[in-house]
Amino acid sequence: MKFAKLRLVAGAAGALWLAACGSSASGNLLPESGEAPGWMKTSDTRSYSADELWQYIDGEAERYIQAGVVRALTADYRREELEAKVDVYVMKDAAGARSLFDAEPAAGSRPAEVGDAARLFRQSLVFVKGPYLVRIIAYQETHGAPEALLALARAVEARLGE
């Protein structure tokens, strides 16, 4: 009887945790148009569970699964002629996000003031904040791209909360 109650409580807690993950995933980790100066959101947010992630990033999904990915969200953005894509990987914990970040080469990047740690390249930016790994890719190399990506990253960070 005691064991059954324990299972019930554990099940309810699990359901609540999943619901929390689901609700943060389905909404609103990605900024809407105008939240970052000049940036327009040009697509709906696409969402992938850990089991579905291979449909988005092929076999690379395995690396994220091993690090504890729960869900990935992605959307497209545009600022004048600059097109970009934002990916937010929601991990089980901060250690998982950090392990992915630390595994990537830093050569050619410079630090940026966003999140817990960030690398800014000429056409991309990656940062971690708590259990989130955020990657922003620009499809063009323009003079102001790094600063524009940084502005977009800060809008994402604001969405992630404390």
Partner: protein, 338 residues
């Protein structure tokens, strides 16, 4: 139709691989044999054409359509050893009545098969006599194609452009070695032959993804086959009958090479190689493509794929006695640079 001119013979001496370097027009044998992959008597040598044009881009990143056509013409003429590009394209057109073009659009913009290249292939095939409706551009998902700039089209007098989600998968499970998969109906039922149009990319799990692995986009469960660096799964999947018998020509889009961080597009490790790799032998093409990626990685200070424990050993497996899909040994590959 494009100009019928002989392939230039410049720049042969720069190539650093162990294979022989042959003048483009001098090699006329062996290409047809490569189309019969998996047979018991593979040829002694294979040919891979490497075509580059440093001026292929107009502006910052846009590809120049005329130069892409010219690169294609030179590549095919060199591969088949024909006297003119039009003769080469007639041979390509003869591969089948309905010809599929298997692209790779998983990564979306930046690291997918360029639409300009696909349109150039379609244009030349139509000029060589293939009706537009008999050309099918396909990939795993329609959304993948759209993300790379293609427009889905199922009817009319234009080439078809569809994802596997439209025609679905064959109900019969096909198996070879450690692979058991459903193969897409586009390949099993619609196409007589396939031109494979992969992208030259690093792969964080499998080492590289080029010609052989592009057919993971023809099966329903590729996510099951990335264990052990994809070995032997990539080779086993290619052995599935519709893939092995219908994939007849491989034109690898190497305009941008993702030499680290693939298969996704990460611009900081994307290299404007401005070229094509063309072969009838997917194993030889992968072998040469892998070498190009390794050389660039070394030049940029990255460890080798082997040191990163992701050496693409499936390429050698594809050439072994159980697969015989082509030649992996660079010493037996003639690299023709045009």
């Amino acid at each position: 139709m494009g100009s019928d001119r002989r392939v230039s013979r410049r720049s042969f001496s720069r190539w650093s691989l162990a294979g022989l370097l042959l003048p483009a027009g001098a090699c006329r044998a062996g290409v047809e044999q490569r189309g019969v992959a998996g047979t018991s008597s593979p040829p002694e040598r294979s040919k891979v054409v490497v075509a580059r044009d440093e001026k292929v881009r107009s502006g910052r990143s846009r590809l120049d359509e005329a130069r892409v056509l010219d690169l294609l013409d030179r590549s095919l003429q060199a591969l088949y050893g024909c006297d003119s590009p039009s003769e080469a394209w007639r041979r390509v057109a003869g591969l089948g009545k309905v010809i599929g073009l298997k692209v790779n659009c998983l990564a979306g913009k930046g690291a997918s098969t360029h639409r300009v290249l696909v349109e150039a292939v379609c244009e030349r095939l139509q000029q060589a006599g293939v009706p537009a409706k008999n050309l099918i551009v396909w990939d795993r998902l329609s959304s993948d194609l759209e993300s790379a700039g293609f427009r889905i089209n199922e009817r009319g007098n234009k080439p078809r452009c569809i994802g596997n989600d439209i025609y679905g998968y064959d109900s019969e499970l096909m198996a070879y070695g450690r692979v058991g998969s459903l193969v897409c109906n586009t390949l099993t039922r619609r196409c007589d032959a396939v031109i494979n149009l992969p992208v030259l990319k690093d792969h964080s799990i499998a080492g590289v993804t080029i010609a052989l692995k592009n057919f993971f986009g023809a099966i329903h469960n590729p996510n099951k086959y990335h264990l052990n660096v994809g070995d032997p799964y990539v080779a086993d999947a290619y052995m599935l009958e519709p893939i092995r018998t219908k994939a007849r020509l491989h034109i690898c889009d190497a305009f941008n090479v993702q030499y680290e961080g693939g298969p996704s597009y990460l611009p900081q490790w994307s290299w404007p190689y401005n070229g094509l790799l063309v072969s009838a032998d997917p194993v030889a093409l992968d072998s040469i493509g892998r070498r190009i990626i390794e050389e660039k990685r070394a030049a940029e200070g990255f460890p080798s794929l082997k040191d990163q424990k992701r050496e693409p050993t499936y390429i050698a497996t594809a050439a072994d006695k159980d697969h015989r899909l082509g030649i992996a040994d660079p010493g037996r590959i003639d690299v023709v640079e045009v």
